[in-house]
Amino acid sequence: MSVQELEKIFLDKIDQEIKIEPKDWMPDAYRKTLVRQISQHAHSEIVGMLPEGNWIGRAPSLKRKAILLAKVQDEAGHGLYLYSATETLGTTREQTIVDLHSGKAKYSSIFNYPTLTWADIGAVGWLVDGAAILNQVMLCRTSYGPYARAMVRICKEESFHQRQGFDILVALSKGTQEQRDMCQDAINRWWWPSLMMFGPHDSESTNSEQSTKWKIKRMSNDELRQKFVDMIAEQVKVLNMTLPDPHLKWNEQTNHYDFGEINWAEFWNVVKGNGPCNKQRLDARRKAWDEGAWVREAATAYAAKRKARAEKQEEKQIA
């Protein structure tokens, strides 16, 4: 079959909402886009363990500690599913990790902000996981089968995490003045970075158009961002807290909240590596990987020895 014919079959499947599977023919650019996006997503899960992991040792009660530990462990699990999805496209986990450590592959910029107080753990759960979920719910219907299926599993756990995050903030909002201040301060610091999670405006987004045609992406950055603002602007009332945006206002005409302009200079600055924790996050990942090298080598060497012994045993039995 010619490439044109293969491409036609591929596009027909996309049109008819038939999932593309690992063994199907796909355009190189589709494969590349997916590897970039899924591995970036996997790295975000893994790097995302760091700001939250920062508070495991200091969680204020045993129950909160157990919940946080289980949550961060879930992120590791999500990383695993996603690395596996990348492997179905012919790129190994090791290769994608090497790309992360060299700075070639990106991860969500939100994790380059520091978690300074316990309230940040609540705000991350509520706002960061909340923003991630909107993107992930959309991705449950993405055109590549293994990615869509990984997302279905991940979404179930993420919505649980978001509720847990909100629950931390509810407890703070009902607490002492110090706790309420801590809560508002965390919301103030995390609000704008979480809006940035949806990426540049549609008009500026370089990867979006082709991804939409291939149904990898099914809603635009600005559509998702608006949905998020509408959701959070209501939920924040339950906490008796405010969002740090003087332009936030319900608009009767559009049936949406209007909101102020994002500081795009900050967004691009963090993307370029100049966020408050970019260096620390990558250093921590590289350190874990480098210091784990001898452990991985030992496991490989032992597995090889075991295999050789089993084969020898088998030969003996046959003889």
Binding site: G53, S61, Y83, A288
Partner: protein, 266 residues
């Protein structure tokens, strides 16, 4: 009187679980490979679960009227017990508070402790105290996995590469001196045996050594008590509240929020 013993005994079991959980949780996000990051976190979660059940029981005991332990006011909770006691009141053994070190040290600490905890809980299931027996029975399923997982890693590291073998030997050097305390009964452990609900820890030693040596054999290591370790002085004191300098820092981190914001609900 029996209640004091039961309280102290329960707190000792709880502190062991919590301090090791706190140590293991330091790996979360920093493990050598993702699957093992998840595994060590799982063990940490199991241990927090055990600690919570035990602290809840201890809180019940302390909240019931009893002049000698100053209870009867209904104020103790799992969190007040975990977060508001200082070093001298903590009753965990020295082994669990030792630093994570490298992966070999973490693995060996877990293997030594889980093997001990497995034998202990096996006996504690038969305790005359129904609550302790029930907690032991429930936890035993988890601990069985901890023993298997850590044994497999001891073998993998011992029989892996020269480097991993050497690191495991270093870990043994670091940790062996803290294993004797596991089998040297603290006052409340001896009293608990007399009272009928406690386990005689000295009687677990032979089975523990047998298991350790069996796994060391597979790991191509000499017997645990051989290879220059004969007669090494065993450190004790943790179970009676005389700890290594490590514990103060563990508690400083663990208890930070409760100390900085007294009385707040989280």
């Amino acid at each position: 009187m029996t209640k004091d013993i039961l309280y102290n005994y329960t707190m000792h079991l709880a502190d062991n679980a919590l301090i090791l959980a706190q140590r293991n949780s330091e790996w979360c996000g920093h493990g050598p490979v993702l699957e093992q990051d998840i595994a060590i976190t799982n063990i940490s979660l199991d241990l927090i679960g055990q600690a919570r059940s035990l602290y809840q029981y201890a809180a019940e005991l302390i909240n019931a009227p009893s002049p000698s332990i100053g209870g009867g006011r209904g104020e103790a909770t799992e969190d007040s017990l975990a977060y508001l006691r200082d070093v001298r009141q903590y009753k965990n053994c020295l082994l669990v508070e030792q630093p994570n070190g490298d992966w070999a040290q973490t693995i060996l600490r877990q293997f030594f402790f889980s093997t001990y905890q497995y034998l202990l809980y096996q006996q504690l299931q038969k305790s005359t105290d129904d609550t302790l027996a029930a907690i032991a029975e429930k936890s035993l399923k988890e601990v069985t996995y901890h023993v298997r997982w850590s044994s497999e890693w001891v073998v993998r590291l011992g029989d892996g590469t020269p480097e991993s073998h050497g690191r495991l030997e270093n870990a043994l050097e670091e940790l062996w001196m803290y294993t004797g305390e596991l089998f040297a009964p603290a006052t409340y452990e001896a009293e608990a045996v007399t009272a009928g609900f406690g386990v005689e820890v000295s009687a677990l030693k032979a089975a523990w050594e047998q298991k350790v040596n069996e796994i060391f054999g597979e790991a191509t290591l000499p017997d645990a008590a051989a290879g220059g370790r004969e007669g090494i002085y065993m450190q004790t004191g943790g179970k009676e509240g005389v700890h290594s300098e490590q514990l103060g820092y563990i508690l400083a981190e663990l208890q930070y929020m409760q100390r900085a914001y007294p009385g707040a609900e989280w």
